[in-house]
């Protein structure tokens, strides 16, 4: 875990004091809303449909137990007893009062957290593989580099008034769990001739113009990476479009200029920028790496785990879905599902947060992660502790065995909260999960990712869902478009639209028809939905979705 330096503490204290004064001036009328709005957004405070919303950054999705407990305290003391984990590894509080926000920010600062640059046209919270530092398949832990990027981008003087927001994701593994190809910049750590560096992807993004990122450089050594990224953001800051906010993201710049032209400009800029980086960043990186040293993994027998796995079918089912391989064979990565059937994806109560904090402290070397899939992870757990963890999770409705299954749905807040939304997404997710739970089909269906957004901005990542659902307002009623074949991993792809959308009460039956078609079409139980879709294409799913159209055509 990164520990704040004195500089970090002072910076945050001063920033919070400034914001407290800004809130006071807004309330006493010295600041108009037009003046105040950019100030509150810089500090993560939005105004949504029913209330203010405070978005707190969870840098690269990493928390310790004290921080998780503090998030619980905020939920209880200043909100309605819960928080919402988002697809950007942040947490959102949906009901704060303007007067209370300065106190909330001070409470966050006590545990080294903040809401800076969770909004506005800045470099946002850097997201990372939620299995970072634990995954069996990683080249190196990406989080020290993510922390370096956080420090570099926070209050970066050149990057405070950019054409639009800018999102960076980083992974240390070839298997991409951080959706790096759907970010403005995606970084994949790679090693070449014993030197660590990154493959740099640029120009990915979802939203109204979904684009899969393109390779800007196949390898930039760590020594040069910060200068290279500064050059990249700088080129876009200069030539990115400011005339039209829908064309302002770097994906459009890359699309309009072409990746080769962008690469040439970045290389040219890099040569100018590089001399400014004199190695201080590498010294800092070395220091930061010390903060992320892996814990001393304990040695013990795993016999109790094996016995529980053999004898307890509920535990076995949970292990089969929610446990991933750890780099230490006697350890495991636990994904705690925040997707109990029928509940709001990503919402955890203050009590659940405390339970997870306690488990992290007792069994998981004090570490927690938030995934972009809106779940919570205990990254390092000795297998002998899994039965005790599972038992505790069960007591608090946190033991749902559905990771990677049809009810492990990403859903944005949608029109239940968000001022930008055009339709609801939460109830659609709740109803799909409940429906397939009733059908008892979930485990038979296997690996299937449904992602739901309540507007074209695509916070719910619908374009890269195996089944993507987009809620729109069509002539004053909610209407849902479906896409199939999206993929959020290293083989990233944007899904294809099936055809006309579905009304609110038709969307769950439509998803059911798609799934039924898949179960008919797959050539074995092992063939996943995505594999089947890639093999057979859209046509058979279309006939299942639109039987009337088929009948009319016949």
């Amino acid at each position: 875990m990164y520990r704040y330096s004195e500089f970090d503490h002072d910076f945050l204290t001063e920033r919070n004091a400034q914001f407290r004064a800004q809130v006071e001036r807004r309330i006493d009328g010295s600041l108009t809303e037009d003046e105040f709005k950019p100030l509150r957004l810089m500090n993560g405070l939005y105004l949504q449909l029913h209330a203010y919303m405070l978005r707190v950054a969870i840098p690269y999705g990493t928390l310790n137990s004290a921080q998780m407990r503090q998030l619980a305290l905020l939920a209880e003391k200043w909100d309605k007893g819960y928080g919402h984990f988002t697809t950007r590894q942040n947490i959102q509080y949906n009901w704060p009062k303007l007067n209370d926000v300065p106190d909330m920010l001070d409470a966050l600062a006590e545990v080294g957290m903040h809401a800076i640059q969770t909004s506005g046209n800045t470099i946002r919270n850097v997201t990372a593989d939620h299995f970072a530092g634990a995954a069996a398949d990683e080249v190196a832990d990406p989080r020290p580099y993510a922390e370096l990027l956080r420090q570099w981008s926070t209050d970066h003087p050149e990057f405070q008034f950019m054409p639009r927001k800018f999102k960076i994701a980083i992974t240390g593994s070839e298997n991409d769990r951080a959706v790096i190809k759907a970010h403005d910049i995606g970084l994949q750590l790679v090693e070449r001739d014993g030197v660590l560096g990154a493959r740099v992807i640029v120009g990915g993004g979802l939203g109204r113009t979904p684009m899969i990122g393109k390779e800007l450089s196949e390898f930039v050594a760590f020594d040069d990476l910060l200068a290279y990224l500064e050059a990249t953001v700088s080129v876009w800051n200069q030539i990115g479009r400011r005339d039209n906010k829908y064309k302002a993201r770097i994906k459009i710049t890359v699309h309009e200029h072409g990746i080769d032209a962008i690469r040439a400009k970045v290389n040219e800029r890099f040569l100018q920028v590089r001399p400014q980086f004199k190695g201080a960043d590498m010294n800092l990186l070395e220091e930061i790496k010390g903060h992320f040293a892996p814990p001393a993994f304990r040695q013990a027998s795993i016999a109790s785990f094996e016995s529980a796995f053999t004898n307890d079918p509920v535990f076995r089912s949970w292990v089969d879905t929610n446990i991933a391989p750890h780099k230490d064979a006697d350890h495991a990565i636990v994904t705690i599902s925040i997707k109990k059937h029928g509940e709001t994806p990503g919402d955890a109560t203050a009590e659940q947060m405390r339970v997870m904090a306690d488990l992290a402290e007792q069994f998981a070397y004090d570490e927690l992660r938030i995934s972009h899939e809106q779940n919570v992870i205990l990254p390092h757990v000795h297998k002998s502790d899994l039965p005790a963890i599972h038992a505790k999770l069960k007591e608090h409705e946190l033991a749902t065995a559905n990771i990677g299954l049809i009810s492990d749905i990403i859903a944005c807040p949608g029109m239940d909260y968000c001022a930008l939304a055009t339709a609801r997404s939460i109830p659609v997710a709740q109803e799909i999960a409940t429906r397939f739970e009733d059908l008892k089909l979930e485990h038979d269906i296997g690996h299937l990712k449904i992602k739901i957004s309540g507007c074209i901005n695509a916070c719910g990542h619908h374009h890269v869902g195996h089944i993507g659902i987009l809620g729109l307002d069509r002539a004053g009623v909610e209407n849902y478009q479906i896409t199939l074949g999206g993929d959020a991993t290293e083989t990233a792809a944007v899904g294809d639209r099936t055809g006309p959308g579905f009304a609110y009460d038709e969307i769950v039956p439509a998803v059911e028809r798609i799934v039924e078609a898949y179960l008919e079409l797959r050539n074995s139980d092992e063939e996943t939905f995505l594999e089947t879709y890639r093999r057979v294409g859209m046509a058979p799913f279309k006939s299942a979705l639109y039987p009337e159209a088929q009948a009319n055509a016949a």
């Binding site: 309330i27 809303e33 449909l49 029913h50 209330a51 009062k97 303007l98 709001t344 109830p427 307002d473």
Partner: protein, 104 residues
Amino acid sequence: MARAFSPKVVTANDLLEGDVIYQTEDDRWSRELSEAELITDEAHAQVRLLDAARQANKIVGAYLADAVDGDNGPEPAHFREDFRRTGPSNYAHGKQESSSQPRA
């Protein structure tokens, strides 16, 4: 002939609480859409919106929302406004906690 003016209410969010409020005919801010002033004249709507905008130290983001005349005062014309006057559908939070307004 100009298109008929569809009735409006002036709505905003409360500066401190952030919750949804409606302008009443007697210049109060109510939490209930049913108490809002239903404006049927375009020029009057603009005047009332200006009245709201002058109260910047009490409210945020005033705008004119379409509404229809119901049995018990104004009703929302669009589902977005129906959510605003009620609250989210996943929890009984927002106005569902304090108001008699049932979810449609």
